[in-house]
Amino acid sequence: MSFEYIKFGKEEKDFIEKIEEISGQNVYSCYQCGKCSAGCAFSSYMDKTVNQLIHLIQVGQKERVLAANTHWVCASCLTCSVRCPREIDVAALMEAVREYQLREEPEKVKISNIPKEVLDKLPNIALVSNFRKKTE
């Protein structure tokens, strides 16, 4: 067992509150069973699994949450949300972290950097949904 001391002050509490406000979810409902991560189709691409990210949100570790790629790898397929035994809309928490970040830096995907031939080739359903999730 390893442990570390973390800061848990106003900044941390504000972060938790904001995530709860955007997502409409109570992050403390999560009891860390890990079912979301087990069923997630993309866990192998995430540097923190979904339940690890939720744990970091629970303890207000904003920098670590925002540094993870978990919420950007999430494709909003909602498998976690329909399976959560605590009925948390887990995907909404991922969306809340994305939104939190996008409201500061509105372009995770820079549309002007995507080559024209890629834009021409992709169906509009892919472009619209990607820009809706990755730009503000």
Partner: protein, 304 residues
């Protein structure tokens, strides 16, 4: 003949023309015609999961309100239902419809915006996916009776993707064990091949900037179906179709040797079985050409 108010969504006019044209042709054959809403707009594809972004709820509610107006111009027996073909539209419209019906504050805010265009949503619509109409209103027995060209030899693995089944309030069938595509495929005379990855997300919009994720999902989905003996996949979502179809072509170039599986929309299979002209399928838009398989099985010649 029952006429339904039909919402195409953004992709049915571009990449998925074959999906729309076969659906309309099939719907006429089954006396449940899909009539397009004249002034529809994009529903926004993905629904926002945030609670505080009202702007992203306006487009889907506008679709519901315009569909309601459209229904007034159709027949008396036309139900207050908007029918979608795309599973993303299905999910987005159902979620927002449910939200505004349960939260009048939200509805009021959206209606305030719609009023500028002389529109209002009165919570009097239901959203249906065309598969629900086929199952609940037309019935698989009825579909089977209309088959003139049974799809003998096609071994189809149904791929639901996420948005036909997620979230619970948008699900058209049992969330973990759906059967609607299986029954449909069987009623057309084809064989069903079960695959464990029938709803493993294909990677969806990650195709734009993280296509490596989509590649690995597509490999899993296609390999699982192939191992179990499938020679084609059936889908209901234009994005799943694009991802699986197009990425297989890319993967084939990277890892040669394995034959890709063609991807059909469920309405294309119906069109083949019900004897609808082949050109409506727009197979030229597919990246994995299904024609050689159909030719081999003697299914491309229309009526036998």
């Amino acid at each position: 003949m029952v006429r339904y108010s039909y919402f195409p969504g953004c992709n049915l006019k571009t990449n998925a023309k074959g999906f729309e044209e076969t659906a309309i042709a099939v719907s006429k054959k089954l006396s449940a015609e899909l009539v397009e809403i004249p002034n529809w707009n994009c529903c926004g594809t993905v629904h926002t999961l945030s609670t505080d972004n009202m702007m992203r709820r306006i487009a889907p509610v506008r679709v519901l309100s315009r569909s309601r107006k459209h229904i007034d111009t159709l027949d008396e027996e036309t139900p207050n239902e908007v029918v979608t073909l795309c599973s993303m539209c299905n999910s987005t419209l159902k979620i927002v419809n449910d939200e505004v019906k349960h939260d009048h504050d939200k509805l009021e805010k959206v209606n305030y915006q719609l009023e500028e265009d002389d529109e209002i949503y009165k919570e009097d619509m239901e959203v249906k996916h065309f598969l629900e109409i086929l199952r609940d209103k037309i019935g698989f027995e009825n579909i089977a009776k209309n088959v003139v060209n049974p799809l003998k030899g096609l071994k189809i693995s149904p791929y639901y993707g996420c948005m036909l089944l997620h979230p619970d309030k948008a699900a058209i069938d049992d969330v973990e064990m759906p059967s609607v595509l299986e029954y449909l495929v069987e009623s057309l005379g084809a064989e069903v091949v079960d695959s464990p990855f029938f709803k493993l997300c294909c990677g969806s919009y990650q195709i734009v900037d993280e296509d490596r994720i989509v590649d690995s999902q597509v490999t899993k989905i296609v390999e699982a179906a192939r191992k179990r003996g499938a020679n084609a996949l059936v889908v209901a979502c234009p994005l799943c179709a694009y991802n699986i179809d197009h990425q297989q072509k890319i993967l084939k170039e990277k890892v040669p040797g394995k034959l890709p599986l063609p991807v059909f929309y469920f309405t294309q299979l119906m069109a083949l079985a019900l004897g609808v002209p082949l050109k409506l399928n727009h197979f030229e838009d597919h990246h994995i050409n299904p024609k050689p398989l159909l030719k081999e099985l003697g299914l491309s010649g229309g009526k036998k």
